[in-house]
Symmetry: C2
Subunit: 449 residues, 2 copies
């Protein structure tokens, strides 16, 4: 154990490099392998999940673009090296090796927005043991978080069935996890986020309504609504449940007329309140005014509101915490290695022999088997070589990094479109909210044996 | 809704300012209040939780130091302003106001590591409405995350009862949430983390063992162990469950002798395996070699292992996901305001009148009532003025920011010591693992009525 005395530097959210977003042991394993002469053995690591979260029928891959960007910044700068040296995390030869480090291997992966199932080889990293093992922590962090959010978000947008979903959970998760969550939700079909940094950094559309504090700031609700309409226009969304909903709706329509953009309900029985407010709005002639609901929504509550006159859902806590499953449980395992650094040397499949943690050795390939109607039938995983598929089937691994160069970057809108298209391929059962099993089976085809 | 087209900038983990870690509506409310002339009304906001997570008996405040640092970086720089302008989030007068923004108010809060209960006024922010409302999102993000982790961590270290706990969950949470989680766990009594950035940024001690991939890289387990011992010394920790545990332990002791630092068990029935390995180590003369267990530990599993010969716990997923409660559900509410900007103008308590979301208007003060033996009896919250306490009682709010200057920064070790001391004050029931109610009641004393 390296003991460092806590110092008073209490810092925020900046990191000049992603290289220290890494577990201590990745570097000590590197040191030992360098000294033993095995660090450059040609190796294949794989990122995958052993199972879906309990009861879920599919998962959504997200974080691919962020992972590629993190890889680009994965350099041990002077400050990182000074830290590692001063704390004696690793020895001088290892520090020298790290100073020159740059990933030069190859990575294939499921593209962002794609659906995944148990065992899907979400990322295949090929390179020297040294360069591939170093990436373990940061790749898992990004994939485990972003895919958990996207997987929950996808169920919510499926239940919303075309009604817009707005991500507004920033306050309920770590401040930078919030930015990643807004991005992942957008991939999985959310229309906008409240998070401004997600707008700036990733181009996610941003939106907002108003808080109760705004109404309470004024001497009356009428004054607050008037101020909001004066400044933001009649198309704004008024929050109507600070005092009395019916009176607030009446006031809002009186001030904005039929032009009032929307009202937001944030408490009570949302279905019943929405019905009552819809009738009231229509009676007042505000037939175009929309009703946005918020307040602890999740995929089940969204589904339960499908019959209510709701025009949009604002989702917070349940989204950013993965709706009961805040992490995917993905692992990153050495699945094959050679006995030398030669990329053409034969790769031997390797796997831990453990009682309760299944790993399957050997390099994986994957395709989604589709029937004649284009409906997904199976996740077919080839071990050692690609499985045979027919014209309907879709290969799932695409090049992300080739000889250290990032080749898999793409606009976020492409990932969002892909999610919509690949979710639409799933059998109908996949979108049920009841607890279930994976919507299609995972089939292994082992050519190594 | 501001529609922005997604662009291909897919970014990592850097943010030059914390000002955009903010919900869109904070800025539009600001704009409307500026235009209406109410933005400078003297206001008091309060950050608190309405309840503890279901079944929990106490919570732990964490994130205070990070929040103060985030406040320091909360400036709208040119890039942020350009984004807000180009996306038309707010108008020109508001942008000009933001360009000059710097929080000049006062903040009091529970110091880091302190215990909290339902209704505890964890942070009291006093200033103009404008400056206080802007901080809502980032303060909640930090407090909701860090306190959730610390609250779970505290239960784990309580159950570990002096045996060291090591945080190793980085891979199971967003990459920068991981750094914050390691810090929060340290506050709540964890001894070390695997996260190197938490070591660099916050001085948390870092440590590590080895992964199965390291063993699989070598042609035999013996060669892997030899390489690890050669490089890292006999005091290293060997991972012994890649193939056969008993054989691995034999090999490890053969290579390192009685000097072997520790072995790690990462699968199977940990209690039974630890007993078997302890006997084997003792029989081999390695009586000083420690046993570290990992593999989906949480506070209940740690408690269940209390009778097993275990010398340390490595905790991952359950810790970084708050052991079932990944967020605290804290809210940030306007509780009092004046009708002018004059800090001496009378403050009126304000609160939403909602059916299912309790808020209590009025500025809060708090003390922990302790009995003659120094055991906590009640959380006493004064509304409008400080409650009377006797010499045993401890006031809970300390100055964090005074007239915009940060005065509450402190070394992390102070927060860690405070956690240990304040947890020790709780009645014995507080540390039970069974589902319960808050260990002490929250009592309100209302001088406003």
């Amino acid at each position: 154990m390296t003991i460092t005395s806590p110092d008073p530097s209490w810092g925020p959210s900046q990191t000049p490099t992603t290289a220290l977003l890494t577990d201590h042991y990745e570097l000590t394993m590197l040191q030992a392998a360098l000294q033993a002469g095995t660090a450059d053995r040609h190796s294949v690591f794989e990122l995958f999940g052993r199972r879906l979260p309990e009861g879920r029928r599919y998962g959504v891959v997200a974080g691919v673009g962020r992972a590629l960007r993190a890889l680009e910044s994965f350099r041990f700068d002077d400050e990182a090296l000074a830290f590692l040296g001063s704390r004696q995390v690793v020895d001088r030869p290892t520090l020298d090796w790290l100073a020159d480090f740059r990933f030069k291997g190859n990575i294939w992966g499921y593209p962002e927005g794609e659906i995944y199932f148990p065992g899907s080889p979400l990322m295949v990293v090929e390179g020297s043991f040294a360069e591939a093992v170093l990436l373990e922590t940061v790749l898992l962090s990004i994939y485990n978080h972003d895919s958990a959010i996207a997987s929950a978000a996808s169920r919510m947008t499926a239940m919303a069935d075309g009604r817009p979903c707005i991500e507004m959970g920033s306050r309920r998760t770590q401040e930078l996890a919030a930015v990643a969550a807004a991005r992942a939700a957008y991939v999985a079909g959310f229309d906008a986020t409240s998070n401004l940094e997600a707008g700036r950094r990733f181009g996610v559309p941003t939106t907002g309504t108003a808080a109760h504090s705004f109404t309470l700031l004024f001497d009356s609700e009428r004054q607050a609504f008037q101020a909001q309409i004066d400044s933001l226009g009649t198309g704004t969304t008024l929050l109507v449940d600070t005092y009395d909903v019916a009176e607030a709706v009446r006031t809002g329509v009186e001030l904005a007329g039929g032009e009032l953009g929307a009202i937001r309900l944030d408490s009570g029985d949302l279905a019943e309140a929405a019905r009552r407010v819809r009738r009231q709005l229509d009676d007042l002639g505000a037939t175009e005014t929309k009703i946005i609901v918020t307040s602890d929504l999740d995929e089940w509550n969204i589904a339960a509101l499908s019959g209510a006159p709701v025009d949009g859902y604002g989702v917070g806590t349940a989204l950013v915490t993965g709706s009961g499953h805040p992490t995917c449980g993905f692992v990153y395992k050495l699945v094959a290695r050679a006995e030398s650094a030669d990329p053409s040397a034969p790769l031997f499949p390797v796997a831990k022999k453990s009682t309760n943690k299944l790993s399957i050795g050997g390099r994986k390939y994957a395709l989604r088997r589709l029937d004649a109607q284009g409906i997904a039938e199976a996740e077919v995983i080839g071990i050692g070589e690609p499985p045979n598929g027919d014209d309907n089937d879709r290969p799932l691994l695409v090049p992300l990094v080739t000889a250290g160069e990032i080749v898999g970057a793409e606009p976020l809108s492409v990932a969002r479109d892909r999610h919509r298209a690949t979710r639409a391929e799933l059998p109908l059962d996949a979108l049920k909210m009841s607890r279930g099993v994976p919507a299609i089976p995972t089939t292994y085809i082992d050519s190594d044996h």
